[in-house]
Every structure is written in C-alpha cells, then in structure tokens.
Symmetry: C2
Subunit: 424 residues, 2 copies
C-alpha cells in the first residue's frame, strides 16, 4: 500500500511555494501579449494570415461590483478573465459564447504564445475555417466563478482563494455557495458591458453544457442556438454522489482544515491530487485507459506485496499531481457543489424549465461517456418535448467523457450545418 | 461540508467496543442451532416440510494447516466457515458450489433462525423447488479468505484481523497477499476433506464469478457447469483503479496506521464507512438511486450552504456505517487487491487460460451493471472461442450490479434449464 505522506513530501513543499508565489494572481495574472499580433512562426502568408490562423490570444479582465448570487449573498467584487477569437461585427450579431467544463477555463482556442504546449481545449473546432469559424463569428469565452485553476496565471477568477475585502484574507468557506446560474449571470454582465445583446449560439462541453442550457432557458430571447456537448439538463442523486467522491479526498485531508489552509505551511495537496485522480478516472473509459496504464496482469510488484501500490495507480496519481499544481482545493469543492445542484432553472421542476428554451438545440453526448451518459442527454432531449430543432448526435471514441474534448472535431460537419441553419 | 470527525464520534466508540468484543470470532463464532431442525413457524405441512422449506442453516468450520498461497507464502492455519443446503447423494455427484461476492459470505440461502432479518443473498434461486433445487442438489458455500465481514459472528475467515501465531497479535499487513486462486484452493481443500471430487456446477455473483471461472479453468475435469453472474474473466486497468477508490478512504484514514490499528482506541471506522459508501454507489444505478435517495433539487439545506452535506450523501453514509459495523478495514484492502489482480489463470494471458475451461458456461451479466459491465462479460464470453455451451443472458433491473442479487430470480427458468442439460 502507498504511504501517502511519503509520496507527497516533495510535492507538498513545491505546492506550498507555488501557493505563496501565486495566490495574488487576480492582481497580476493579466497576459500582456499585444492584441491581434500575428504568430509569424505559424503562418507564411502575410496577406491572409489573420484568416488562416488565430492571432495570439489575449486575456482580458472583467470586474463586477456587488454581485448578488442566486441564493442572495453579495460578493463585493467579482473579477473574471475572458478571451475572444475573431471580429465582432457592426451590429454585434455574430457572437458565439463558449462555456467551459469543470477543469477548464476561458482558454477555448488558440495559443498565448509560440511556446505554449497546447492550444485551447476546443481548438479543433474553433478557428478560421473550422466549424465555429472565427472568420465569421466573434467567439468569446470567460473564466467561471470559483474556477478550478485558481493559481494559473492565465486564469482570472473569484472564489474561496480570493481575498475577502471584509477581512483582508482569503474567503475560504466564507465565500458564498454559487450555482451554474451565477456563472451565467456573470457572463451576462460581461456581455452587457460589451454591448452584446444577442448570442448567435452558446456552446460548451460538460459543465459548459449546463451553462449553455441555463442561458437558453433563462434568456430565451437572447439565445439563438444551443450546443450542449457531453452534457445534461439535470444531475441525479447517483451522479451527485459520484461527484461527491471528487470532493471527499479533500474533505478527508487533515491539511484541509475546514478550508482555512491558505496561510498554512501544510496544504491539502494530497487531497487535491486524489480528487484530480478521481476526476480523471470518471472522465475516462476502459478502452483508452487500457492503452495508457499498466494492466494488473503486467504488474509483478503489486502481485507480490499488498504494500506495493498498483503501477496504474502510481501513474494516475503522478498525472493528477502534475495537473493539480495550479488548482485550488476549495475551488474544487465549490465546483462540485455547483455541479451537484445543477438542473435547468435550478427550481424543483427542470422538465418545465427546459421548455422555456426557444432556440434549436444540438445535443452531442459521447457514445462511451460513463460520467454524463448518453442516457442523460436523451432524457434531457426528450424533456424539451419537441420533434424539430432538437437534434442529437453521438461523439464516437474510446475516451468516455473526454471524447467531448478529444473527438469533438469528428462532428465538425454537423456543427457547421447546425450553425448555418437560419432561426426564426 | 461534513465534518467527518464529528460525524463519526459516536460510531467510533461503538465500533471500538464491537472490535474488542468480537475479534476473537474465529474461536467463538460457530452457530449452534441443531442440524436439520425444521422451522415450524414457516411451514404447516410436517410431512413435506423438509422438501418445501430449507431447514435452519448451520455453520461449519473447516481448518487447514500450512496453507501455501499462489505467491509462495505459508499461512500457518486457515479457518473458514461453510454451510450447505440439501442432501449429498451416495456417489457425491450432486454438488453445486456457490462462491460469494466481495461483501458476501458463505450465507447464500436460508436462515439461521426465525428472527433473521433476511435469508442468504441468493435465497431467491436456492432452495426446495427453486432453480438451484436443494431437493436434488447438495449446495455448498464457504467463506473466502480475508472475508470482509471479519467480525460477523456467523462468518469464519482468516486474514489480517486473525491472530498471527508467530506474534500472538493480529497479522495486519503481515498477512500475505492472497488471490482468487487462493480462495479456490481453500475451497478445493474443503471439498477434498468431504470426499467431493466432482462439481455438478459452480455458480457465483461478482467476485463469486471470478472463483467459479478459476475453478473451471484450473480444474476442468472436476467442474461440469459454470454460472458466472454479474462477472468477468478479467479486471482491466480502469476497473482496477475504480476498485482502488474503495481502498483509498481507508488508506487516507489517519487511524488506519499502516494496518496496525487492532490494539488502538482509535479505529479506521471513518475510512471503512466511506469505503463501503463507495462500494454501494459503484454497485448501484441512477434509476434505483433516484427512488432511494433525496435528489439535489429537493435538498434545500445543501442549496444554501457549502458547509451542509448533501442529504443523499448523509443517507449513503448512514447506510454504509450500518453495513460496516462487523467489517474489517484491512480485509477490505486485501479483497480489493485480490479483485484488482483478477483474471483467469492469474498469468499474463487470461484469454489463453479461459480456453482451458471444458464445462458449459452460462454468463449472466446485468443489463445496467456499471461496475462489471455486460461488455466485460461479452469480451470474456468471446475469449472462450466456442459457439456452443457458451451462453449469455442479461439480468434486467434498475439496480445496476446489484441486480445480480436482487433480480437473479428473473432468470430462474434459464438457470434451471442450464442445470438440467446433460454434459459429456
């Protein structure tokens, strides 16, 4: 068996250092690359460069004062990051909002600089000439409240790791509970500030689908098309309890200290790593896992000794540890709760609330999704009670829930077609 | 958010008391009800009583010295419990072995006494006139090594909670790693001691299916029929990691103390409860969960306050706490490891090992099983590479993996038919 304390010794020190370096991120995080700079290394055609390739992505900051949550709490100051791809047209009628998933951020497409390891998460379908065509659309995406990547310098968010102006210290669990509807209201305030009244479409994967559906139900006159990918209109008890198991390793970590750990030497890094490992596993599928992780049959050390952890477990934890470095444990708890409470309309009858949606809907569940299953998407689709403008297509792949990121490009023709259809 | 320490305060004291009262169970556990006593309260027909109703079940003890595990360790003395239903015929040709699941025991059918809350787990298909007809068959079932219910007075097992004769103290993690094949070898020694050479059939659900398949592959000349229910011939990396999450709450419990907790005041009860909650959740399905647990939409307290746990979570933990009272945390870790390492033959090529099976096989996956999925059963079935004597039927239901216990009776006609077929 693994001895967690030993395993995390070095990580803990690193993480503590990172936290102390980074937790003022909301003040210093702004990316300072010049607007619309052309990535010279990525294109050799100056005349068409802007239309062949996204320019370097720039992060913007939106500040909102006295934000009142759905549950009636007031957050003194909300700051969130946002980015955009493409050009806003004169009548501001070409806006597509992209809403991000649980572990994601506003970085949906493009790169900040040439050295970036990877582009934004939906880069395969967002860009010049792609299904969400930035030569035609102004694509905008913002960081949610309580974003998981609280210490990532490219993310701007407000949550329990932010400074509570009443105390001068991080909120911790004094930060109010927030919901998917709160995420939507912050996005609406951002769009209002830009003078954007209409959304040509709202699209997002997983927790992003929750926001997209809430947008369309809450503001049916503003939303013209909805694409909920690997999504659902409701979370049932079973899935809520599954999500709870993402929170558990943090709640059980002695360093979590009821959320008051920011000033401590010891951080709940182990709990956060186990939480991320749980997220990764639940988002995956046996077919893809078998190719990436050592099978127990090949794992001689674990076959001999009960004290030796599975190689697959060590591999999963190493990945999780790496992923979790810029994340915050409390933020994960808030995202879990927001997701657990998710259903369209946030009342006690989501089946009624979903019928407020006027926009055409394109449901895109992943065939092998074991987290937000195709069955949940189908139940959601049926609750709309319409036969037209209520389409569903499956994303194929071997990565389960993750196919909503990894293989979304396989449905580019369908997404393109859906976006090309005129609406009333 | 739940404060686990508060939540478990009372339970911890109770549990510690129970442990101190019960952990010598292997010496005192034998059920002393008279053999073949007729339950008068359950039958009004004295003449046919024995054939209409199982008599009170009696627990027997089997002791085995110097048991050598597959990995080469020697266990000084193995004690396991067993029970049987029906009569052994003269040539001992009517024996059906029932192998139990992860949280189960040798108690597959019947009752020990009138006041028992429930009969054995497969009572719906084992008994006079039922699919596994005790008027025809001698049905025998034994507790595995490292049985989860280590402190249950009706269970006799040997594992980390047992006394290590070398030290006079419980083994803890000094107990050797054991495998499904070890479970089978202990059962074989038991049957040998009874002079039983042939098994008319071996049947079991879940981890019981592992044992049934290992029996048929390891001793193809002895096993005439196999019924792996909600089972698989292999555990893949994904499922091994899922099982690891059953172990995690125990490994992360500060009271676990690397398995040396038996003499301590503080027991890893919280870890064990969370582990059981994880087992329950993974064995269930959203459809049944929705009927049993409060939906987040109806959960006002959790909607208001991040510090308030979901009602569904409280309900799940309360159930788990109740279930875990007679269980041992280390035993759970050993069962997890045995299950993680499971594949027929225990070598590096289970697809080859499974083809050693000569017996007809009846695979019975549950349609909605999210733990050992129908896909795993189908892959297992196909690896046998035969078109005859290799049948598969789905158990319907809304309880996922648990349908292998709850709804196995729906396949009684098929099981009866399979058992009636002559074999070469």
């Amino acid at each position: 068996m693994m001895q967690p304390s030993q395993f995390f010794h070095q990580f803990l020190r690193l993480s503590t250092l990172l936290v102390s370096l980074c937790w003022h991120h909301t003040v210093t995080a702004q990316v300072t690359a010049p607007a619309q700079a052309t990535p010279a290394t990525q294109s050799q055609q100056p005349a068409l460069a802007q239309t062949k390739q996204l320019p370097w992505v720039q992060k913007h900051r939106f500040v909102l004062h006295q934000f009142k949550t759905q549950q009636g709490a007031v957050i003194e100051q909300v700051q969130i990051g946002w980015e955009a791809y493409g050009q806003l047209n004169a009548d501001k009628s070409n806006v597509i909002l992209i809403t991000h998933h649980f572990s994601g951020s506003s970085h949906a497409a493009g790169r900040y600089q040439a050295s970036d390891a990877a582009p934004g998460y939906w880069d395969s379908i967002i860009g010049p000439g792609k299904a969400i065509d930035t030569n035609r659309f102004y694509v905008i995406s913002s960081d949610t409240l309580v974003n998981l990547n609280a210490f990532d310098p490219t993310v701007i968010t407000t949550g329990p790791a932010s400074i509570n102006p009443a105390t001068g210290k991080p909120y911790g669990l004094d930060f109010p509970l927030v919901t998917i509807a709160d995420f939507v209201e912050v996005q609406k305030a951002l769009l209002d500030s830009l003078g954007i009244r209409q959304l040509y479409a709202v699209a997002g994967p997983s927790m992003g689908s929750f926001q997209a559906l809430e947008w369309a139900s809450r503001y049916p006159e503003r939303v013209q098309r909805v694409i909920p990918a690997i999504g659902t209109a409701f979370i049932d008890s079973y899935t809520a309890l599954k999500l709870q198991r993402w929170a558990e390793p943090i709640l059980l970590d002695p360093n979590w200290q009821q959320g008051n750990y920011y000033q401590n030497q010891a951080q709940p890094s182990q709990g956060l790593t186990y939480a991320l490992a749980a997220v990764t596993l639940d988002a995956m599928h046996p077919l893809a896992m078998a190719k990436q992780f050592t099978a127990p049959a090949q794992d001689s050390p674990a076959q001999q000794d009960i004290r030796t952890p599975l190689l697959a477990q060590q591999q999963l934890l190493a990945l999780a540890q790496k992923r979790s470095k810029l994340m915050d444990a409390n933020h994960l708890l808030y995202l879990v709760r927001a997701s657990q409470l998710w259903r369209v309309g946030l009342g006690d009858d989501w089946q009624q609330a979903i019928r407020r949606i006027k926009a055409p809907v394109l449901w895109l569940p992943a065939r092998n999704d074991l987290l937000l299953t195709p069955a949940m998407a189908t139940t959601s689709q049926q609750a709309l009670q319409r036969s037209s403008n209520n389409q569903l297509a499956l994303i194929d792949g071997e990565s389960g829930h993750l196919d909503g990121l990894r293989h979304i490009d396989s449905l580019q023709p369908l997404i393109r077609q859906f976006l090309a259809q005129p609406v009333n």
